[in-house]
């Protein structure tokens, strides 16, 4: 028999009590695992596909305001800029506006694929097809899977912004290729098609671009290039705001609300609740064992060793709940990743960082909840302990 055996046996002295405590802890870690992973996934989504030497130029008034097409070449001419491409948000949906909206951009295929070669991976044949087919569209693998789209098929893509001069609101597009992400976990729920095809058919906002993506010679020049671009268009009807890609997408995500704050509040509330439940229950459980602890000490178990055992029991309890809770949330997250809603977040699966911080949290929880009973066990005099009960 080892100290661990003893701790383990003590932990399950009243199995029902231990199971109930484990359930409490399990629930808290379930909340922690899922919410933290969602938060991490959102953070990552804002960074995925953002390269450190890429800038986004948008209208200074707001990124939904467009800029004249002429800006593209003017930006390209600014020193330090090595490549540019541009895109227009299309408000794309397929068949049903309410339920099947997705990310859709009108792009310039050649420059777009040159810059985003890694983010939207295509075979050479697909790339060639996309360049040459005026009505061509490349679609993300997740979307293709969801709607059963095949290469070569023609699909009607509608816009909740634009309409065609002929009155139609959908554009027939021929699938040139199905792209995958740089990593298998990157979200692939977007479509990209020819800017020219859109521009020639829309009724308003012709020859306007939404945002311009700029590649700089090196990240060190980002600030300088961004300043140069914005200075170039200062005092024009469409002034620009140029920031790096990461800042751009992060600001966009933050618009929904401060998710970090909500997650922190909910997780804290859950942990405050189990902290109260577990520590008070452990205190009362340890009080029942006062005499046994006195006996252990009489037999010659040193106070520090008794302290370690009591703390060990609390840590074991919280780790048990934590491992089950984190495991279950990992399982749920995997399931969620495969659902249509979840897949737009990209990789939802639990990152090692979340798992490790969960375990660290479990150990701290154990130490905190075990602290009061452990200290009282440490200080308990043998005589008092044996006289009680």
């Amino acid at each position: 028999m080892t100290d661990f055996d003893l701790v383990w046996k003590n932990l399950f002295r009243k199995p029902l009590r231990t199971i109930l405590l484990t359930v409490s802890i399990f629930m808290a870690f379930l909340i922690f695992g899922i919410l933290t992973s969602l938060n991490v996934a959102l953070d990552r989504a804002s960074e995925s596909g953002s390269a450190s030497n890429r800038l986004v130029v948008s209208n200074k008034i707001n990124f939904t305001q467009s800029m004249p097409y002429a800006y593209v070449n003017r930006v390209a001419a600014i020193p330090g800029v090595t490549a540019v491409t541009y895109q227009n948000w299309f408000g794309a949906y397929y068949q049903d506006q309410r339920t099947s909206r997705f990310v859709g951009f009108a792009v310039d295929p050649e420059t777009y694929m040159a810059i985003f070669r890694d983010e939207a991976r295509l075979t050479d044949a697909e790339r060639q097809a996309f360049l040459t087919e005026r009505t061509g569209v490349i679609v993300g693998k997740s979307l293709a899977d969801r709607y059963g789209w095949k290469v070569g098929q023609t699909i009607p893509i509608s816009s909740n912004i634009y309409s065609q001069a002929n009155g139609r609101r959908s554009w027939d597009m021929k699938i040139s290729g199905i792209f995958t992400g740089a990593k298998p976990t990157d979200p692939t729920t977007a479509i990209y098609f020819h800017y020219d095809y859109m521009n020639e058919t829309i009724t308003f906002e012709r020859d306007q671009v939404g945002t311009i993506t700029v590649v700089t010679a090196s990240p060190d020049q980002n600030d300088q290039v961004a300043k140069a671009i914005d200075a170039n268009f200062a005092n024009s009807p469409a002034e620009t705001s140029t920031v790096d890609e990461k800042t751009f997408s992060r600001a966009f995500l933050k618009q929904a609300g401060d998710l970090n704050f909500i997650v922190t509040m909910v997780v804290s509330a859950a942990f405050a609740a189990i902290l109260m439940i577990v520590s008070t229950t452990l205190v009362s459980a340890m009080r029942e064992r006062t005499k046994e602890i006195g006996v252990m000490k009489t037999l010659g178990f040193s106070s520090p060793r008794v302290l370690r055992m009591v703390l060990g029991e609390a840590v074991l309890l919280s780790s048990l709940g934590a491992v089950l809770g984190l495991g279950t949330s990992a399982f749920i997250l995997t399931g969620l990743s495969k659902s249509p809603v979840g897949s737009s977040f990209g990789d939802l699966s639990m990152s090692p960082v979340v798992a490790l911080s969960g375990l660290a949290l479990a150990v701290s929880l154990g130490l905190v909840t075990g602290a009061i009973p452990a200290l009282s066990a440490l200080r308990m005099s043998i005589i008092e302990a044996l006289n009680r009960g």
Binding site: M1, L6, R13, V295, T298, L299, G300, S303, P304
Partner: protein, 227 residues
């Protein structure tokens, strides 16, 4: 025979609120190696305090406590714990077995304080349980055992690490006469055949008869000695 335990001029005072109660004011006691001493006395005579001092679970205010040539009164708490683990086997009135452990595991408990190998531990547990005649109950939990059986397991726990000294606090206080006699017979056997030095606090004159000698404690003083 040499002295195993020697108390010299031991003083002990308790504070209860503002009142201080003197239990011992210069107690002397010598217990020889291989002795079996019963200590009797009315409530408040200092029996329990003496037991705690002998077992190293309480400290004297002054005086010397020697055990087998060591002065244990100067030990710190950790040293005392180590000394108890090595040298003293405890037997309590209410057995004080761990309810979550079976008989064999309860007996093994003091061996967790030694560096013995698992195999050696198992052998020692088996020997101790066989001495008290309960090897066939090794896998039973305390609540599945009778009072007498539980006390036997407690005796096995006390002797498993082979201490020289057994300290018993009313070991038969909770048992019927026949069972009590069985337990006392076992203690006598341990004293005679294995040479354990035993100090037993008891209320029961019948129990005291199993000892080699009886000390009567009254108001902190040994009043009378019966051989």
């Amino acid at each position: 025979m040499s002295a195993l335990i020697q108390l010299k001029n031991v003083k002990k005072t308790y504070k209860r609120g503002k009142e201080s109660i003197t239990i011992f004011d210069g107690l002397n006691l010598t217990i020889e190696q291989g002795d079996f001493v019963a200590i009797m006395g009315p409530s408040g005579s200092g029996k329990t305090t003496l037991l705690n001092l002998l077992g190293g679970t309480d400290r004297s205010d002054s005086g010397e406590i020697n055990f087998d040539g060591e002065r244990i009164d100067g030990y710190n708490e950790g040293q005392l714990a180590g000394w108890r683990a090595r040298s003293v086997g405890f037997i309590f009135q209410f057995y004080n077995l761990m309810p979550v452990l079976n008989a064999a595991q309860n007996v093994e408990l003091p061996l967790m304080l030694t560096k013995l190998s698992a195999g050696k531990r198992r052998a020692n547990v088996e020997t101790a349980l066989k001495i008290v005649g309960l090897w066939d109950r090794a896998k039973h939990r305390p609540k599945e055992l009778s009072g007498g059986q539980q006390q036997r397991v407690a005796i096995a726990r006390a002797i498993v690490s082979d201490p020289k000294f057994l300290l018993c606090d009313e070991p038969t206080g909770d048992l019927d006469r026949n069972t009590a006699n069985d337990i006392l017979g076992t203690l006598q056997q341990l004293n005679q055949e294995m040479g354990k030095t035993i100090v037993m606090v008891t209320h029961d004159p019948e129990a005291a008869r199993f000892a080699k000698r009886t000390l009567h404690l009254d108001k902190g003083v040994f009043a009378e000695v019966t051989q």
